[in-house]
Symmetry: C2
DNA sequence: GTTCCGCATGAATCGATAG
DNA sequence: ACTATCGATTCATGCGGAA
């Protein structure tokens, strides 16, 4: 089955109107934060942010399936010595639009921006707000289970090297039978705190968030061939993650430069996947 | 110099009125969280939480010194499938009272409450809201510095084993000159994410926050002989932390049972400190 | 082929300086 | 007085070149 990756260049609130309702399974996005990204996106002032965002979130509510989820990555900055309150106000306004504020995940950034000030420490976390249209949303918790604390130590060490190699080399599940049994027994469900690094100084694609972030939510809230939407695509991290996990995706960005870049990268990745599948088929012939 | 630990039994909004203004350097507290079940003992319903808390925060604003800080540990519950908004509303109302919302620290709980739900992961974080009366508050950042990321690996490994042994064996500072130089150079300021475990097996009372939590803020926002206030003392963790760090403290709790318990424990601890100081004086005679 | 060291690079924030 | 711009400060990460 084919995976579609569609990229549209333009303003999110315009483009979204051409997308039919109830067709998206997951929205993952990181819009420009207030007063930030002035050079690329013009920078939306904090006191205008809500009126700028609400028309977009209204369209997002329309295009999302009743079983779908909206994950919004955002963080308020310091203005005049205080944390700005626009994110909290946005949550309350979105609830008035009909969104359910289901959960707030924390992205704990391992490598946050450095600096020192007399009255403040470095900011090492961002919000990942989960909104839903209904309480009956899809969630595939097993897809993001994590190894338990001593999993590697207590279990894998007992395997002989040949066992490990043999089991890992099996095709299909990616793990041999023995290990997969242990997997289910010694895997735990994660929490609502994600501990990831930002991808810094990666010349090829300078992404706002690391690929693992959208990947995690895509695995958690969608299954294969579902549709993922990112209305502020940027360099396209969400779309690459979706493509890699065999989900259809729609990306929107106002900057033509980003759209071109994303289109070319997607083409490369698709080709790369195709080649790998060829090799794979050849090797297993 | 003597350390005072005062414990008052009664309703916080009443007791606080008898405390004179501008005399507290730090307020650290974890009030009872809102509870949707109105009939449970002491539980404040979520929709009444703000009107219950605002008279207290008003008094807290009065008793706090202009250079002081208020750290509020709180987390909104899930009500009817959604995160409740009363914490956000509380922040906005407190700002109207005159509080500055300076920062939001995250307490990432290493061992959070177990459980499994079909539509939600375990909640592993709580808010630590920092409020101030003015922008010129005291902050002693050096008191809470932490070792840098790869401190042990990248620096200490370059020392010969004999160097390490010789330097470690020196009395006094605990480190030899060389290492202590590196210490200061290889310590970094922390971030606004705290990664602590909850205290699980505390004999006398239900698991609240770990001693390190109030200790961290006491070290950060006060100096010796300053005054720390906890208007919802509970079993007295904040007061013990203050006493241990040689800060005066005031505790308030509505349950006589807790007040008695805290009073006895404080007495024990003070005695213990006294004995240690005697031993110390004797040993160094 | 490793391992190691140096280096640029960030969704930052404050305080001073300039219009 | 109030707003824009700039320099200083700071640290985890991954890349590239060197040993």
């Amino acid at each position: 089955m084919e995976i579609n990756t569609d990229i549209f260049c333009g303003d999110a609130s315009d483009i979204l109107q051409d997308i039919e309702e109830n067709c998206v399974d997951l929205i993952v996005t990181s819009p420009p934060y207030a007063d930030q990204r002035k050079d690329t996106y013009g920078g939306i002032p904090a006191d205008k942010y809500i009126e700028w965002f609400l028309p977009i979130s209204k369209e997002l509510l329309r295009v999302l399936k009743p079983t779908g989820t909206f994950v919004l990555n955002i963080k308020e900055r310091v203005i005049n010595g205080e944390r700005s309150t626009y994110v909290m106000e946005l949550i309350m306004e979105m609830r008035k639009q009909g969104w359910l504020w289901t959960e707030e995940f924390i992205w704990h950034k391992k490598n946050c921006y450095p600096g020192k000030w007399p009255n403040r420490f470095r900011d090492a976390w961002e919000r990942l707000l989960q909104f839903n249209k209904t309480k009956q949303f899809n969630m595939y918790q097993e897809a993001v289970m994590v190894p338990m604390g001593n999993w590697a130590k207590t279990r894998l060490k007992n395997l002989s090297e040949t066992d490990k190699i043999r089991d890992n080399s099996r095709v299909g599940s990616g793990f041999g039978k023995n290990i997969s049994n242990w997997l289910t027994r010694d895997m735990a469900y994660p929490t609502n705190v994600l501990h990831l690094s930002t991808e810094c100084s990666n010349r090829s694609h300078s992404a706002t968030f690391p690929m693992e972030l959208p990947s995690w939510f895509i695995k958690l809230f969608t299954k294969e061939f579902d549709t993922v939407l990112d209305p502020f695509m940027g360099s396209g991290t969400t779309l690459f993650a979706a493509e890699k996990l065999r989900r259809n995706s729609i990306g929107i960005d106002i900057l033509d430069e980003y759209c071109q870049m994303a289109k070319e990268e997607i083409k490369e990745k698709e080709l790369c996947h195709f080649e790998k599948e060829e090799e794979y088929a050849f090797a297993n012939k």
